[in-house]
Assembly symmetry: C2
Homo-oligomer: 314 residues x 2
């Protein structure tokens, strides 16, 4: 699957993934009203959760339609759907499916991780198949999932089995983009290395179990907000593709990301969520008015240009 992602990045010349983390605060209020009205016209009264979920679906669809020809991938964040209960999860499922229909690769940002058979169930639910009476059934069926390493190999290997069986991929959290990520991840171990480097080493080992061309289907999440750590991890994990969140709203720039890429300008894909989804609310894209999709496309194009320029100049 990592090869498919790399092909798609090359084809669109855009190492960019759009994070589909729809927050009601940046979904135009008229989408909720519209959802309610349309349902009423069909004789259905929506619960608040259903109305919110339907508004998110309209929003996602607008964004996906606006960016699907310029970016290779999207990354729906499951928390943002779970908070709307079952209607939210139904929209999560539709979002995964619709994105794939539009030719996008879907990275399920679920940050799951458990032990043995439980991790196997997560892997089955999000990437693989569940066996029912001898038949394989698909649940959410994304292309990649993000995975938490705290439980060690027991939590990761069931995902790798699914990657190998179904040509899928995972990104393991190594160094996350948030301010407090260092509380645990930067702690120095007795051999002088921080915890995140130890996890990076494990990720490289796990990666050997699912190579797919030059890179492995087992990638790493490394926050764009930590450029120095990204540089070290790039050297330490030469076969590990990096998913880098933190660009834009979280403060990282294209320059911060240069060392996350390999000598061919590959090996990394950069996520932006709020910077693209909420572009219509920013002064820079005020000319779009309430056309959130047009503003999202413009913001995505600006981000792509920013990364292309920085990579060309390095």
């Amino acid at each position: 699957m990592i090869r498919k992602l790399m092909d798609a990045v090359r084809e669109k010349n855009a190492p960019v993934v759009v994070g589909l983390d729809p927050n009601l605060s940046f979904i135009p209020a008229e989408l909720l009203e519209e959802s309610r009205r349309e349902a009423l016209a069909q004789g259905r009264e929506l619960t608040p959760m259903e109305a919110a979920a339907e508004a998110i679906w309209k929003f996602n669809k607008g964004v996906i339609d606006a960016v699907c020809d310029i970016v290779p991938a999207v990354k729906p964040q499951s928390a943002m759907y779970e908070q709307f209960g079952l209607p939210g999860l139904a929209v999560y499922e539709k979002t995964v499916r619709y994105s794939q229909e539009k030719g996008l690769i879907v990275i399920a940002d679920v940050k799951r991780g458990d032990i043995g058979s439980t991790s196997a169930a997560y892997a089955a639910g999000h990437l693989g198949t569940t066996e029912i009476e001898g038949q394989a059934q698909r649940a959410f069926d994304a292309d990649f999932a993000t995975v938490n390493p705290y439980l060690g190999s027991d939590g990761i290997k069931p995902f790798i089995d699914v990657c190998n069986a179904h040509d899928k991929g995972i990104f393991v959290l190594v160094k996350t983009s948030n301010p407090s990520s260092g509380e645990l991840q930067d702690v120095l171990t007795q051999d002088g290395r921080p915890v995140y480097e130890l996890v990076g080493e494990k990720v490289r080992e796990w990666g050997r179990l699912s190579m797919d061309g030059r890179y492995s289907n087992v990638g790493a999440v490394v926050g764009a907000t930590y450029p120095e750590q990204g540089r070290r991890l790039r050297e330490q994990m030469p076969e590990t593709y990096i998913l880098a969140p933190g660009y834009g709203a979280q403060g990282a720039s294209a320059k911060d990301l240069l060392h996350f890429f390999d000598e061919n300008g590959e090996g990394c894909i950069v996520n932006s969520s709020r910077g693209i989804l909420a572009a219509w609310k920013k002064d820079a894209y005020a000319s779009f008015g309430r056309d959130f999709a047009g503003a999202a496309r413009a913001a995505a194009l600006d981000m792509i240009e920013d990364l292309r320029t920085a990579l060309a100049e390095r």
Copy 2:
């Protein structure tokens, strides 16, 4: 909320939580058939996912009815529902609700954890409320959730805010019960302490933000399979209630758990999933035939007796 859990443990004299991790391999096949038949009688043909989910619902209901007067809490494991897609999650929701109706406290074993606003969305979805047009709406609304600490305080504090606002609780993964948990958790840091002790210290700090009587609403997951580490953590985290998985099927006995409890025989609740759910398939409970619920009750009673005896003899 931890006070409510402790009251319930005292009232039933049973520091036991039944893990609702229904795996099709130990759900009697006739429940699938019955689900299909009943739906057909109502003119609906179930998809395989729907049939499996309905069978799990029947199974859960049977187990909940059989144990609700003898144990204080249940712990549904979200992976086991997610693998059946939306029908599975609908059963997860019904299971939470039904358990609460039957007077059980529900620990959502979701092992979520993300950064800032994303963790806030998970906390809202699983324990708190989601605001839609100024109104608070409830999504899954369990009583406790399990949380992963890899992202540091940013990932935990939004959960603590919800604990304080809605009288809920969390259990943070400290030392997990699986064989490979030591790969990361046992690594020695420069001050000579293993990573899990460092996390234990953080959990104690976080716990001070949500005290509820002698213990905090911020508890810890410590695997019963690691008795020595449990003893150290009990001393290190005197206000931290422990959720201990690993009893039974994973190999831990009541004796292994003695030091997880405080001097009053409190401060810990022990989980068993497969040992109770799949009891009907074990020789020891063969007399129950296919009465999975009766066997589950008998296995839960045996587990309670085992823990009571060990605690009384120490």
